[in-house]
Structures are given as C-alpha cells and as structure tokens.
Amino acid sequence: MNSLWVRHACVEGKTYLCAAAQLRLWLKRNSQGWLVAARHVTESLFEELHATDSEPDPSEWQRFVTPSETPDVQLVPVLPDRPVVSRPEARIEIAPRHTGRFYVTIPVWLRVQVGLPAPVTLCEFPTHVLSKTWFGHPAEEGEIGYALTTRARQEVAELTDVEGRAICPISLENNTHETLAFAQLLLSVRHMSVYQTADGKLWTNECRLGYTSHVLPASLAFGRTAPEPAKASRLVSGPREAPASGLTARVIASAIFKSQF
C-alpha cells in the first residue's frame, strides 16, 4: 500500500498498470505527454504501479499533452470531490454534555500528477464506486453527497482494514441536556487535507462538531494540522478548497445532524 503513493519513473512507450481498490489505472508516456485509462471493477485489489502487457481498449485512453522532460508520475490520494454523508451501521447515542470520538474512514480518490517537481494534475478517479445521496429535504435546501456507511470505530487499534481509505477523526460534542442520536452527518471533505503516516495509513484533519440544538446547525471546526494519532505524518494533499472565514458560515449551515425521513 505504501508504494502506491510514491513517485514512479516511466519508460516512454511502455504501459503501466496499478490497482487501487475497485480502480484499475493504466498509464503510458509518449513523446508529447501521457495516456491514461481507468476502469472500475467489482473486485477490490491493491497493486503498485508496474509495467504490464495488458492494454486497455484503445477507446479508453485519454490523452494529455504535457511537457515531457521528466518521466516521473505520482499517484496522490485526495478526498472526494463532493461531501460525504456518513451514516453509522448501528444507532449511536451520545449522552447529554458529553463528547463522542469516532473514526470514519473515507474512500480516497486517486490523482495522477506528472511533470515533477512542478506537478501538473492530469486527472482524478475514485478508488471506490460510491452511491450518491441527498442530505436534506427533497424540496428544500440540501446537498448531493456520496453515501457512506461507517462502523464509527472508537479505538485507533481497531483501524486495521483501511487500505485506500483516509481515517477522519470526528469529535461530536453534545452540548444539550438531551441524548443525541447520531443518525448521519455531512462531512465537507473538500476542506480537509490528507496525511500519511510511516505505516502507510492515510489520515485527514480532525473534525469537531458541536451540537447545541435540533433547530440550529452544528458548529464545525477543522484541525489545522495532522490529528493526534498521526502526529508524525506528512502532508500528501491539501484541501480542495481552503476553509476561508466567509465560507465557514456555509459549512456550518451544512453540517447539520438529521434524523431519517
């Protein structure tokens, strides 16, 4: 898994293949740039980029004309392009005036970068095929996101099968005098970064949500650095959109808890 996200030097004219969960990605360097082909399959597999004789269908290639001085390509894990709507497998209740800490794993996307050290992004592909979902009432304001069922694990030691996923530590503060039933929440992943620890695990910034009332939206804050369990990690990709002060209000408004309807 570690070797999937490292830099690879590609020989011109040779085809390379890698597998990242449900994604199969082919790469080929030519004199004027790169050819990229991607396909999603049902079987999940992880294989680093390697030379291959198996070629995709010619119609599957996408061509990218780029400066071709450097033969290097880097596959970078990034977070999805839409928010993620995370729903726990089992009902979770948080006692009044109490904080629950959970780890939600988010399937990453794979970004293809060439032209290092000044990288040019060619394209991005999801490593898992996620269903879309709607967060909100159909006739009112809401947001389209990717549906995710989470085990909402509470111990770092339980995070073993997380290949191809970024671990997002979430703190849910129940600031009310009533028990909070955590049905689902919207994670605005476009404001989060991805970090990698020495053991190859991917992490995001910590996400702190403060629930004060069922009427008001929850407050939302992102950690500015790697989370506590991944202190010795390195940043591998920044947020798609920096959480600016003007944007915070919208993020807060979207970070609502809701019961099923």
């Binding site: 996620l130 269903s131 879309k132 979902t133 709607w134 967060f135 006739a139 809401g142 389209i144 549906a147």
Partner: protein, 268 residues
C-alpha cells in the same frame, strides 16, 4: 434658370436639410439608446441575472427612444400639446388594438419578478418542452430538444400550467415494470432492490420506492421509483432498465406479452 436655382436652394433649406437633420437626430437617438441599454444590461446581468437585466434595459431603451422622438417633434416646431392630444385619441385606438401586446408585456414583467424559471431551465408549457433560451418583454423563447425555437407569449406562460423540471437539484425517476403472473413477486422486488443498490446514480436517500401496484390484464405491475441527480435522469433510466433486463434473464424471469385466446366452433 436663376429662378430654378433659387427654388432649389429654398427647397434644400426648407425640406432636405431639416429632413437630414431629423434623420441624423433619430439615428443618434437610437444609437445612444442602444448603447446605454447595452451598458445597463452588462452592469445588471451579473447582479440581477440575465432575464431581469434584459427586461430593465429594454424598458429603458424604449423610454429613451420615446424621449428622443418627443424632443424631435418639439425641435421641428410642432406643438407637443396638440400632438399629445392627437396621441390621446390615437392611444385609445392603439390601446384597443394592442391589448394582447400590453398583456404580454405586463405578464413578462410579472415573470421577471416572480421568477418561476430562468434562462437555461427545462420547462414544459402547453405541450412545448425544452430549455429556456431567453425571457423577452413580450414572449419567452424555448429551445426544444430537437433544436427548434418555440416562441411562447408571456401571457400564455402566466395563465397556463407550467412545469419546471430543473427547479430542484434532485428528481424522482418513476419506472413502471410489468412481470408475468407466473413469477415470484417477492423475488422480483428483491431484484429491483439489488439493482438499485448496485447503481451508483440511484440515491439511497431519499429511499427508493418499490411498489407492487396491482394485477394488470396480463401481468403483475410494479413501480420502481428512485431519486437521482436531475442531470443524470436519462442515463440512470437507461442503466436501470439494462440492469433489470440482465438480472431478469439471469434469474429466468419472463417479461409479459399480450395474450389472446381464440375459440372456434359453433356458437362462437
């Protein structure tokens, strides 16, 4: 000869030059009105949207043209009061004749204020369906899916039932499916559920709806209703239908066909 030249000079001074002056003033007026209206539209389009900006700029242009014409009449030495008096009489006649236009104009203003749709929306009015190309003062232009332009008077839009298919970002896709009577209804419904879950374009919330609607003439009738991104409606329908057909073939489930029983013999 001299008399002819004098006559020509007089004609030039009395008629041709004033006429040229009027033409120049009219052209200048039209140019200034168009220029100001265009600047106004560019300034407002970003803040108010193209529909409102177009309506306001066209109204301003119309008023400016009227002002130029009035100043032209006064400049020509004609008594404006008399003209207005005559215009009042003519106005009644014109008013009767242009009732429809006025109605369209007022309806257009209401449409701009109420905004039941905007340029780019997919709407259906009175049997015409397509994307809104532009909302003008008197009419709205729709580009149909077969790339024809349909002009709908604003009055009709204000009075008719209007469906805006792109008002909300998500829509429910309803698919009616009939299955032969000999099949297991529970298995059929389970296949529908599996197919929907496996399709990434089908939202899992709002939850999909699978309904056993009833017993048809020659088949069991089901409704499969799934929520999807409004931009992916047709693609989702196609992929669902393909997946259902493939699963039915896999499971050996028959789609129904019209059956007719014929009897022959005496008394038939």
């Amino acid at each position: 000869m001299k008399a002819d030249v004098t006559k020509l000079n007089t004609m030039l001074l009395d008629y041709v030059l004033p006429f040229l002056g009027i033409c120049a003033w009219l052209i200048f007026g039209l140019w200034v009105s168009s220029f100001l209206a265009r600047r106004l539209y560019n300034g407002l389009a970003r803040r108010l949207g193209t529909d409102k900006a177009r309506a306001i700029s066209k109204t301003v242009k119309f008023l400016l043209v009227v002002l130029f014409v009035v100043s032209l009449i006064r400049g020509a030495g004609v008594d404006i009061t008399a003209v207005l008096g005559a215009a009042g009489v003519a106005g009644v006649a014109i008013g009767f004749a242009s009732q429809t236009s006025l109605s369209n104009l007022i309806s257009g203003l209401f449409l701009v204020v109420e905004r039941p749709f905007k340029a780019g929306d997919w709407i259906e009015v009175d049997g015409s369906s397509g994307y809104v190309h532009s909302v003008e003062l008197l009419s709205t232009y729709i580009r149909t899916f077969d790339n024809s332009m349909v002009r709908i008077p604003n009055e009709m839009l204000a009075k008719s039932k209007l469906i805006n298919y792109t008002r909300y970002p998500i829509r429910r896709l309803d698919i009616d499916i009939a299955v032969a009577y000999k099949e297991d209804a529970a298995l059929v419904m389970r296949i529908f559920r599996d197919v929907v879950i496996a399709n990434p374009s089908c939202f899992n919330e709002p939850e999909p709806l699978i309904v056993f609607k009833g017993f048809g003439e020659s088949s069991m009738e089901f409704l499969l209703a799934v929520w999807t991104d409004r931009t992916e409606m047709q693609a989702t329908r196609t992929s669902l239908m393909k997946d259902i057909k493939a699963r039915f073939e896999e499971e050996g489930i028959d789609l129904p066909y019209q059956r007719m029983r014929m009897k022959e013999g005496a008394g038939v």
